[in-house]
Structure formats: C-alpha cells, structure tokens
Amino acid sequence: MSLKTSYFNLPLFKSNLRRFWWIGAGVLLAYLTVALLFLFDEDTSEGFAVMNAVVVGVAGILPAILFSYLNNSGSVTCLHALPVKRKAHFLTNLATVYALILVPAIISYAIGFFYCVLEMPIGIGNLADYFVMLIICATIATSAGTLGSMITGNTIAAIFFAILFFAFPFYAEGVLKGFLSTNVFGIWDVEYYSLDNMSILKANPFMIGWFIVSIIGLIVSWFLYKNRKLETNGDIISFDFLKPVFIAAVSVFAGLIGYFYLNVFFDDSIFLMLPFGILGAVVSYMLSKKAFTIKGIWKPILIYIIFVGAVWGTISFDLTGFERRVPDIADIESIDMVDTDSFINRYHYYTIEGKKYYYDMSIEDYRYYDEEDFKNITAFHKQRIEDRKSGFEKIHIVYNLKNGKTLRRIYSASLIEDREYLEPIYKTEQKLKINHGWLVKEYPVTEIVISDDRLKNDSKNFEILVGDSKKAKLLLDALKKDVSEASYEDIVSYRNSLTQVQISYQRDLIDENGNVFIDESKERTTYDNFGIPKSYVRTTALLTEWGLFDAIYKPNEISCVELEFDYRQEETVRFKNPDEIKEIYDFVSEAKLIQTKEHGYDFNVRLIFLNAQGKRILDFSGSRQTNIPVPRLLSAEINKYKFKYGQNIPKGAIAETYEIY
C-alpha cells in the first residue's frame, strides 16, 4: 500500500471539499473584506486581528462538522467499512480544515503581497508575521475542535467541547484566581493571560507555547481516534476512562460558578461550591450514563463533597503554609512594593505592531535594596498576616529572593490606620519616583493642565503652555520642591487638595530587550495626575497669582443641585438649600480629587449644578465606589432609590460609598 493511501485519502478529501466548499468561500469572503481594508486604511492590524478571529471560529467548529460522521451509526458504519485506515480518515479531515482556511488566506495574503510590491503601507515583514500568527491561531483552534470531536459522540457536545478547550486555559485561570483571591489571604491576583493574545499579530512566547500545546493536542486526538470505539456514537463521552474526568471537571467548575453566583446572596463560604457542584455531578453522571439514572450517583457526589471539604480544610487551616510565609531578611535580594496605581504604571505596556513596549522606567529604579527597607516591609507583611485587616489600598509585595525564586503577595491596607507600618515605606525615594514619574529623569514636558472639572467654561483647559517656558519652569520648579517636601498625609491622600494638575511628558518606549522604539510618529506621551494640597505652598502661591481659584465655581454661584439616578430624569432629586449645596460641592470637589482605585458599577448617579438662571454649569456622573464616603443627605436619597428599585444593599453597610467623576 502506498504511503499516500495510508495517510491521506484523496477521494475523501475531495468529498470533504465538495461538501464544505461554502465554508471556505465564506472564509475567503471575510478575508477579502479585510484585504480591501488595505486599500483604504493604513493601520491594517485590526483587519488582520479580525481575520484571526474568523480563523479561530471556523477552525474550531470545522472539526466538529467534519468528524460528525463519528456521531451517527449509519455514517460511521459506512465510512469505516471503506478500505480506508483510521489515520487516513483523521489526517484527511485535518487536511480539509487547513485547506478550507489556508487557501482563502493564501489568496488574501497574495493580495497583501501585491500591495507590498506597490509600496502600500503594509510591509512584507509584517505580512509574514501575520501569516505565522494565522497558522498558530488556526492550529490552536483546530486542535481544540479536533480534541473536542474525539472525546464525544455527539456533534453539539463536540462544538461545546471545542469552545471549552479553546477557552479553558483562560477560563480556568480566571475562575481559579478569582476563587483563590477571595479565599486565600495575600494571594497574588494580577491580570491573567487573556484572549487578547490572539489579537496580537506577532507570535509571542505565550502563543508559541500554546501552539506547541495544540500540536500535542492534535497528537492526543489522533491516539483517541485510533482507539475510539465506533459504537460510542451518540455518547457524550466516548471513552470510559474519561468519564470520571468529565464528571469531576463539570462538578468543580459548576461548583466554582455556583460559588461566585451564590456569593452575591450569602456570606462567603467555600461550601457555597456545593449546590451547583453537586448539580454538576448529577447532570454529568447522567450524561455519561446516557440515562436519567440515580443508581450509583452517590459516588461522584460523595467524592465531590470530600473534595470541597478538603479544599475548605486546606485553606481554612492554611495547610500549605502559604498565608503565613514571610521570608527571612537574610534571604531577600530585593523587594518591589507598589500600590495599585504604581503597579499599573510599572507593568503597563503598549503593543505596537505585535511587539510589547514599556515606558523606559527601569524596575531597578523603584526597587528596595536596603536592609532597613526589608525590615519595614516584612514588618508590614507580618502585621497584615496577624491582623488580617483590610483597607482601601492594595499593596503588592514582590520578594526577589537570593535563591532566585520570587514570592508575591497582595494585601489591602488602610493608609491612615496602618500609618505606623506604611509611613517608613512610603516616605522613601522609591515611592516618590513611583508617584511622580516626571521627576525621575529630565523628560520633555509637553503640557501642564489644571484638570479641575469645577473650572468655569471659559476657563476650561487652564493650560500653562510649555511654550511659555518661563511660566512652565516656574510651576515645575515649585512642584518639584513641594513634592520633595510632602508629608505622609500629602503622599497618601489628596483629600485636602485645592485642585488637580496633570503633567504630560514624553518618555521613550523600549522593548523587552531595552531597544528604544524610534518611530517618532507614534505616541509616547504619558502623564502624571495629582492633587495640589494646601501644604504645596509654592505651587499654591503661583496658581493664586495666576488667577486659577477665581476661575473655579464657588458654592455661592450655584443655586440648585440635581441628583439623577441611572439617567432617569423622572427620578431627579433637587437640593436648593445653600448648606446642602455646599456639602455636595465639597464632596464632589474632594471625591474628584481623590485618586480612585477601583471601579465597581452598581448603578449610576449624576449631579448637575445649576446657576441662578437655571443653566447647567457643572455636570458630574458617578457610579458606586468603595472608597469614598457619600454625604449623608445624598446617601439617604440613593438608598431610597435603591429600595424602590429593589437593589441589594449590602448587609451591615454603614454608609454607601460612591465615586463622582
């Protein structure tokens, strides 16, 4: 028998193409639509990302369609009675998936190449990168789809499994991290890998890793096909050895979903995993048995209950020692300790043409190396573990140990209540650099704006023009001095701020190897936004001299404040009492100036300030927040509204908190 006959069957391949050509035609149409974008749009990357999305969708579902003959007694009998080996069936179907995706892609990329020849914006290098990424995306989705088709004898289940396998790593990581961050004290909960990697058009290590996993997935799929019993058509799980895995996986993830759902209604407990998990166990057991049977169902239920009990015991008694682990000072090489905002600034990156670029800040610039700092940080760490209190500020601690390992923890803390531990850490050079990146180097400042939303219309964008170098220099010098002398209160809170300033400046973008991104046309401006407290006397004096505080609306210029809920004008509440207006004005001024950390969207409120003529002069929209106490009179109206519309008020809530922006 020839190798060709053994591994590939041309008649079946032709038959596949003949039956499913329309899918390839659809892909081609989608690709050509993208290709047309080349003509009109310089930035074609979005179009290619759409292309990848099409590829992922088609490549994920095609295997389920092509292998659907396995799920029907008649078709599987007839096709496997033919003198065609299983490996030829398998590889022929796989070849069909790639043919239906790649032929349209090659046509489209050929058009893209033609544009390159015509010196259109897209470069040949980019085109090659995009094509590699397309192959990677196609393979990942094909692998997920094929694996899904192999483990089940049901086409709907095959599509479901394809989606599940594709999304599983992202879903599993998200759900597990969500669960652990709720239950394990101090767990590191940074942003996890996301599907966004698919939209990056140049293969990164993460995607290459997934590509390798997907190849393994295809090999596993082949072994499953080779050993599949063809009488399992119609079964949800076609392999006996996978049935317990299926039941366990469904139980655990149904339990986790149920946990998050029930958490909304009940006090947090790991045992909230039980109801949905048991339901998952029952459903998956019946599916695996293909019958509404309860015979023997107690086994998976009991195993699941024991599992949940084990999780509860492990976490409650910290059996792994995770929560109590604080490294010895002698073992520490260095420490990164940042709060939420700093964390975002330091690890944030931009993706330009498939590559990640960071601002040129070096982690070493902000790292703690001093033993005294180690003592202060470990003291804070130990205090957190001992008190297990929470606060509004999220503090990230990364211990870089001498043995090369890294220990990461996150705790929340109150900047006021935990001052004793935080002050020595916050009043350091590192913290100053983190809060005011523009101070680190002599970056070219492009703009200084007083970003105070209370400014009168004709004074909006109160700019200190950089072109007016004298004014700009005066302000920057004043700010530098004031910032360097700032008290702990001024570092941790802007509540006593008089106004807010935003300094825009240009920083170099560097890639992971330290190479500077040199395309001047690309935006490399960043900014620091911070409040000006009364203690910044030099800055305040300058701003007063330049008339800023006359350009801000005062409470006595406001005759009415309207409070709207969820943009429902019919629910508007009006405050006309000058004392009430003053209270709301102060709240908005204060809230606006506070650097808010988290955004939770419960429902929206809107405050509209009217002048004596009834004209809107200020307009603030807001949503429920966690860190700013709302004035009693606003809170009362908000609670009335929430009660009326049946919204859930947290148990034991003393005061609702809202952000106004």
């Binding site: 008649p11 039956r19 599987v76 009998t77 007839c78 009675a81 065609v84 080996k85 063809l230």
Partner: protein
Amino acid sequence: MIKVSNVIKTFDGFKALDDISLQVEKGSVYGLVGPNGAGKTTIIKNICGIYTPDCGEIKINNQNVYENTDIKNKIIYISDELFFFSTYSIKDMAKMYSKIYPDWSWERYENMKEVFKIDEKRKVRRLSKGMQKQVAFWLGICTKPDVMILDEPVDGLDPVMRRNVWSLVLSDVAESGTTVLISSHNLRELEDVCDHVGIMFNGKVVLQKSLDDMKGNIHKMQTAFKDEMPQELLNKLEILHSSEFGSVTTMIVKGNAEEIKELVSSYKPLILDILPLTLEEVFIYELGGMGYEFENILL
C-alpha cells in the same frame, strides 16, 4: 473464508456477543438469523472491522480485518443503515468508489444500469429507502468483492427487485466464488438462497448447520393406525412434536426419512405419509423446546 473465533463484545457491561464462533466457507452463502437484538448486526460490524471485539479473533482469508485495507478492498458491506454523502449523485458515488476500491469495474456499472433502472444523475439522498438499497447493491457489486456482507439486504425492496438482487448475488457466487454472509430476521427469505444457516439469540450462535443437513434430518409424518399407535413404535422414534386430529396423528420426527418410513410401515399403519418441512418449521421444532422467541424470525 470468514472465520470468527470466540468473539466477545460488550456494550456498557451488556454482552452483545457472547463467545461467538462461526465459519463461512469460500463460495458459500451463510444466513445469520435471529430476533432483533440477537447480535447479528454487532457480529457483522465486527467482521467488517468497524467494531473491535473485546476478545476473540476475526479473520477473512486468514488475515485480520481490522485496519487491513488489503482485505477491506475485497469486502463490500451493505448496511441496514445506509449512508450517502449529501449532494452526491449515483455517478458521483461511483466515481468515489472507483478511486477507493482497486477492483472497481465500470463495465459492471454500465451493465447494472439495465438491472436497476435508476437515473445515475439523481442525488442518492433524495431516493426512497428501497432505491437507496438498490444503489448500495449496484455500487457494491461493481467493486467485484470476494466477500459480501449483507445486513437485512432486501428490506424495503419490492418483490421483483428482491428477486433481481438475489439473482445478482447468487450469480456472483456462482461465477466468482464470492463468499456471502447475510443477516436477516426473516427465515423464509433465506431458505431460497443460503446453503448454511446460523441462528443467533442473546448474543450466541445457538445453532449452525448446512441447510441440507438441517432439512434432511427432520420430517413431518402423518399416520393412522387401526387402534392406538403402538407404544413400542413411539419409543423407537425421536419425536419432537405430536398432535392428533381424529384418528390421524401428525408428528415431527428426527431421523432418516427412509428409515422412519421402513420402521413405521413394519407396524402396518392405515395411513403413512412423510412430508418435507419448511426452514421455519425446522427451526421451530429443533429449537422450540429451548424457549426462544421464534415468532420474531418467522414473519
């Protein structure tokens, strides 16, 4: 030659095939009969290499069938559950088969047009079930198989087409020495075409014999004596069943017809008549005492 040795196949703990052994000689037509759920289709799918047995061995021409394309090239299986690709006409299917089966004969294909009289351009999926079965035969015969495995082959065919199909099968057997295994729950259908018959029940082959052996060893005898039938004679006969109508006794008796006739004649009966049995009567009386549900195979 098909040789099945001690095959066991279970589905979710249910033994669909329970230590089955059977042998179909080259050039013979073997009928596999049994009620629904007896395991006929399961053993056939194992023989065709679609299912794999849990244990035991299946060989065709002394080679394992599973994943053996050399052997499968020589087998044609006409399933009870037919499947054709959507959008494919008969001609399209023929083209595909011609590229898959190395011995495909276009000459036969053309000849068969006269037999089946179906427009080859018609989409197979749009044909009636009976016509689809004809197409399956049409295509199957053109592969020039050494072994034909037919699962309920004439279900859905009209009487004329049944006769045509059987005629085609038998002429293939006569001309090419094709080995044929036919599964059916209808004994009457098989009586005319099979030379060997096996009966399946509850996953076992409970009986398999050549048709001649089976029919030559069991007879219906009608007799009457002046008085009662002598007890001595009754003791000498192997009687499977007996009934009386007036003075006439009808018995199903095992043994050689001539010997029975000679023995009974020696007791001077008033009437003695020995009649042949149909295949279904043979099965009823051979196995009737075993409690099997033969009404299912005697439609």
